[in-house]
Symmetry: C2
Subunit: 289 residues, 2 copies
């Protein structure tokens, strides 16, 4: 018996799952129909095309997280300010059809000098909390724009974004480093950790990145190693900014290949790591009902 139509509508993809009472996935689908690929702003049309077979009269409602709630999305759902947990988000669902289809708002953290925002990751955090049975901890969501969130008493109390994945793409594809770097090479764990360690020495990313070029020039990094070393420099620069817990785990949520890199880097710094994948999104949306 379906209980929730859970939808994650991001920048580049649209994913959905039909969940039962226990949050188990009954059916799943995905399409390359991120919000940037919706023709003429026809979000309602794309939604109907993908999910009308799941939307029954009097049936399960649909909750949508991710960039669909941004200014460029279906309907802008204003950010909910930290601290916030599932209860606060559930109170601020932005209903497109009352009781039927709602957009989940993102979170903002305006506690520092510069505000920060997330859309979609908050749902993954709540899902991982539920799956792990945790209401406190440090949660990491690696990606184009990585998020580091602190959770206390089941609510996100604050978070920060790092443009790590995007910066990797910029340097690997568009900078002078692109000439001597094999971006398609598989992860070289040793070169990656070498980069993580180097970033920790505190010379700064702008200097360390040039080192990718000079180490190549002096024959000390191959093109394949250069890609992993650069990745390590960037992840290490991100980690350098964090206060890792002396006890307890760091929860890392994301795609397997990225989670592997963060687990390696965090492990090298002595942190215990617990990881979750895409199912965290479904558990998080279920926790809002």
């Amino acid at each position: 018996m379906p209980r929730l139509i859970a939808v994650d509508w991001g920048t580049t993809s649209l994913r959905g799952a039909l969940l039962d009472e226990a949050g188990e996935v009954l059916e799943e689908k995905s399409a390359p129909l991120g919000i940037l690929s919706v023709p003429n702003g026809d979000f309602a049309g794309v939604f109907a095309e993908q999910f009308s077979d799941w939307m029954k009269p009097g049936g399960a409602p649909c909750l949508i997280s991710g960039m669909a709630g941004s200014r460029q999305g279906w309907v802008e759902a204003p950010y909910v300010a930290c601290p916030a947990g599932p209860a606060e988000l559930a109170r601020h669902l932005h209903w497109i059809e009352r009781g039927r289809i709602a957009i989940v708002p993102g979170l903002s953290d305006a506690q520092g000098d510069v505000p920060d925002v997330m859309r979609g990751e908050e749902v993954q955090i709540f899902g991982a909390m539920r799956l792990a049975g945790l209401s406190d901890g440090l949660f990491v969501l690696p990606g184009t724009h990585s998020k580091w969130a602190t959770v206390r008493g089941g609510r996100v109390t604050g978070f920060r974004t790092f443009m790590t994945g995007e910066a990797y793409g910029l340097f690997a594809q568009h900078s002078i480093l692109a000439r001597t770097l094999d971006a398609a090479a598989p992860l070289d764990a040793e070169a990656f950790l070498h980069g993580v360690t180097r970033a920790g020495s505190g010379e700064g990313l702008l200097h360390d990145a040039f080192g990718v070029r000079t180490l190549g020039l002096f024959g000390r990094l191959s093109p394949a190693q250069s890609a992993s070393y650069l990745s390590g420099l960037l992840v290490g620069e991100e980690l350098r900014q964090q206060k890792l817990p002396e006890r307890g785990e760091v929860i890392v949520i994301g795609a397997a290949a990225l989670v592997e890199r963060y687990a390696l880097a965090l492990g090298a710094k002595g942190a215990k790591v617990r990881t979750f994948g895409a199912n965290a999104t479904w558990a998080g949306l279920r926790s809002l009902q």
Copy 2:
């Protein structure tokens, strides 16, 4: 009476000056014929086309600095290791025609874990030393790849490169920030210094860069201010790595628009600044004779 044909052959441009005994410029020319624009590796042909009217039998010799001496250039002139001054470089000129045309080698600094290199900037440093009458100090050459060099007793004892200018271009043109940033806007000194200060707070470039987006999203930075703020973040990140002298000046060498930004940022940190432009190259090449 011409005494030297001074040539600066870089990645994107080729510049030359005819100098007299005192180092005064008798004639100058430039062309968009950087080493990347030389057809079929015909460096000798391009050189002859540009400078044959200056090259007289028994006349002044020609010294060429910059990327013409790199692996992608006319002839590779191996780096001279630090510490090195004009005397060391003069001993390692790479003659293409003995007594007539020579390539000036670049410098390497292999004293740390990661080697560093420069080609062309060493000549500008020697020129600024000569023009300023200094044999000790901290020399900064802002640019795509900024250089910070320490000079003692007339020799560069060590230096570091920062990919500041290139990172600015990557973030301003190719990242998500490009959508909300007016890269063509003139410098907004207040927004620039705001960025410099923010970088000094030590949150790290990967986090601070995302702040350009959120400050825009929250209406606290206009597209024009965003460009200057991002520039300030990057220059500030570079400056954060430096030990500025408590007394004495920092020598900044480069194009006027860049030198202006660095002078602003250094001034805000309480440093005294003295600046030099393109003539430093000519004075530096003259100092090698």
